[in-house]
């Protein structure tokens, strides 16, 4: 990222998300279902270097912390725990807007090893937005107690993104996690997440809309994902687009595309 782009990014972070990153610092978004040990991972990585507050204009807690690994500084943003980021609640909206418009260098999705199936919903949703994602399978100690065995390499292969097993409470796997976060932040690893294919009806509609959507939003967002939200008829998301990308003129056209 060149200098002016970095400056622009920092301005966006502080204006819309109340986050102050220092120059050269990588941002990591931390997402996950409620009660998966997200905050334990956050605390284990950042220690006492934390700052808590609220998201601007919302009564939702916002915790930020930093840590240093191999001489690079990382700013971690603990997002609210959600089952989904398709924005029915204010928490989901905060999480979605940050992953989508906050442009974190990595989004770390924490999953509960004892109920992977339900947790993977969120991981798949994030994978539709950004390829810069690391999946952290937490609570491995709990899973072991319940005799649940997880084939991590198969999971990594199926998802197409790095998967790290942790038991944050005891510190297991955190070193690998730091290493993976570093690798992805400096661009050493660019995953190709598995994309969901929808029914042929939906896929046809996507193909029809995609060229127009790409033209309107440029490279700011993943056009396929925006198209899916438009097909969903998600009005709140169209509002967010114009708010964050200053696409006011285009928002009406986006709505036309949606109809």
């Amino acid at each position: 990222m060149n200098h002016s782009a970095t400056k622009e990014h920092h301005k966006l972070l502080s204006e819309h998300f109340g986050i102050t990153a220092i120059p050269g610092q990588f941002t990591v978004a931390l997402a996950g279902n409620p009660n998966v040990g997200k905050s334990t991972v956050f605390n284990a990585l950042t220690g006492l270097h934390q700052h808590t507050g609220n998201w601007p204009g919302k009564t939702v807690d916002n915790a930020q912390g930093s840590f240093t690994y191999l001489d690079r500084s990382f700013l971690m943003v603990d997002l609210p725990g959600t089952y989904s980021i398709l924005a029915h609640t204010i928490e989901e909206q905060v999480a979605r807007d940050f992953i989508c418009f906050g442009k974190p260098d990595v989004t770390l999705v924490v999953l509960d090893a004892t109920c992977l199936e339900r947790n993977l919903n969120l991981a798949l949703q994030v994978m539709e937005i950004t390829p810069k994602i690391i999946v952290c399978v937490n609570l491995m100690d709990e899973a072991e107690k319940k005799n649940i065995k997880i084939d991590l390499s198969a999971l990594q292969k199926d998802l197409g993104v790095p998967v790290v097993a942790t038991a944050a409470r005891s510190g297991m796997g955190l070193d690998t996690l730091r290493q993976k976060l570093h690798e992805m932040s400096i661009g050493l690893c660019t995953p190709t997440p598995r994309q969901i294919s929808y029914s042929s009806e939906v896929e046809n509609a996507i193909q029809q809309l995609l060229p127009n959507v790409s033209r309107l939003i440029g490279s700011n967002l993943n056009p396929r994902w925006v198209t899916l939200r438009l097909l969903d008829g998600d009005q709140a998301f169209i509002k967010s687009i114009s708010q964050y990308l200053n696409l006011d003129l285009h928002s009406t056209r986006l709505q036309e595309v949606a109809v």
Partner: protein, 81 residues
């Protein structure tokens, strides 16, 4: 929508009985919410208990207990197992 003779609304399921979800006759945000909680077609569901007034009812879905209003559960169609 699949409405074969054996298909019943989830709200009519008795305590202790199990079923499999066939379809959701819900729209918009509630539909999305139910899907996000893992209640998709094919998912096994067991009726666990009813509140004293009979509404809401607690269902076991993918190892998680979820309470639904009868109003919403009546729009979820299932095959008893």
């Amino acid at each position: 929508m699949n409405t074969a003779i054996t298909t019943i609304p989830l709200s009519t399921l008795g305590i202790g009985s199990a079923c499999q979800i066939v379809s959701l006759n819900l729209q918009g945000l509630l539909r999305r919410r139910i899907l996000d909680l893992g209640m998709v077609p094919g998912t096994p569901v067991q009726c666990i208990r009813k509140s004293p007034a009979g509404d809401p009812v607690a269902y076991m879905v993918r190892d998680t207990l979820i309470a639904l209003r009868s109003e919403d559960a009546s729009q979820i169609y299932v095959n008893p197992m």
